[in-house]
Subunit: 157 residues, 4 copies
């Protein structure tokens, strides 16, 4: 997908760290950072997930929503929801995390496919109007991500 | 000084990495990041100076001007301009660096005093209109600094 | 257990990264570094496992044997052998790794119990004669561990 | 110089962090780690000097002597003894540091020339009998250096 498209709604099966399921629709008006990861992806554990944690800690939740999405596309038998629950506990993740819906007919789960993600970690920034403004794969520089969040925060609702 | 004041003009004796002296006045319209350091300050060498280098590398020079200022307030006999030249060379600094003007009657140099800096590293963010918008002392988080630069970049001239 | 005791033999159910099962008995004459970890233990992933990898890379295998042992004592349903296989693959571990034998009647697996380990990561250094010479819990300094390996290497068989 | 030669005596002009000048001759019986650095050498500041500090902190002074030697071969006007004093103070170095004697006729100081050092940081390990056992240039792995110190400590006097 190209950017400036409306962000596809999340298609997930389960949530952690939130009292009830979340939707992008209900988050209109906020900047949303979607962090797609796999719990056994070394680059996610080393850089992507800690960055998402820092973003959730630094920016006010009323302005910026951080959502993790567990997009398992390999080692499905190892990265089950019960294993993810242990991972979230051990790494003390506090932001909401959703489990991407497994596809009926292939390894790529539903939301990952809808966004055309190339792997994990992937970072998607969605503006207050619900449009994708950044979509990237791999480790991202804190300064750059911070500046993009700042630019999106500066936009009127 | 409180923030939202107009940033005092730099009062310096010498420049490196720029063909001619710079003034804040001539930078109106750009976001300016002023990084005050001492070459023998471990916190500057470890975090402040590399952060300034990264900012200079990441943001377009047409939008964000990074200026280093060598605010020597201790060990004056060690941190001379000739020593600073060697330091800039060895650490491969590429952004413009000015030497703060020594005071006639005390250890604190002129620009450092005008800004009321508490030590090094200090970070000052100046908006497109020339007003101080952030003034901080010590190591600063990349995400936070990035977001503030992004917010200032989003402001109209 | 106190140090200078003979190291208890490994009691494990499965091996990775080795053509056939290993025993401490067969390693007499070499210095053995036993690294006990859990794949979802953040301290193991961040420091213990990379240290074990570096030790395996730096010291000649003819002198120093590095053995990982997956001592699962919590989140048993998440850290199964099939999940461990994925973890070893993703983190590109190359040293032999054994799966500690689950206890019949409690969370602590067999080898972990025999060594009296307090948690993960744990590090055990065994001398050429098969005696435990270091037994520690938590992150360990490379210089210190290196020196202890050097001291044990210097001992005659 | 090749290794296994007797380590040339230090030829220095000044000492810091020691009540009186030190000589390799008087250190016979101990393992000696000689760390050659320049205060404006980024690799020294980032890795070599902190490693020397850690070694001095970890190993008993009765067994291992850590000596820094400021081997200035460039930017002589910046790296004067008075600047070195400020550097030692700011970086809180606690091990003894000597100033290598400037040559009468070239940039390379006396001790640096006698050891045939190629630059900074350089690391020299001297055994209890006063012989050079390691001589290296550049960043060195803690595990490897630790093991070599351990091996030398294990040798009888």
């Amino acid at each position: 997908m190209s950017s400036l498209d409306t962000a596809p709604e999340l298609d997930v099966t389960q949530w952690f760290n939130t009292p009830e399921p979340m939707t992008l629709g209900a988050l209109r008006g906020k900047v949303v950072l979607l962090h797609a990861f796999q719990m056994l992806c070394p680059g996610c554990v080393r850089s992507g997930i800690p960055q998402a944690q820092r973003i959730a800690a630094i920016f006010p939740a009323s302005e910026v929503a951080v959502i993790g999405i567990h997009t398992v596309f390999e080692h499905h038998e190892a990265m089950t929801p019960v294993a993810l629950a242990a991972f979230i506990h051990e790494y003390r993740l506090t932001f909401p995390v959703a489990v991407d819906r497994p596809a009926g007919d292939g390894p790529i789960p539903s939301t990952m496919a809808a966004y055309g993600m190339r792997g994990t970690p992937s970072l998607v920034l969605i503006d207050r109007a619900g449009r994708v403004r950044r979509h990237s794969f791999g480790a991202e520089d804190d300064l750059k991500v911070g500046a993009e969040i700042g630019l999106l925060m500066a936009e009127p609702m």
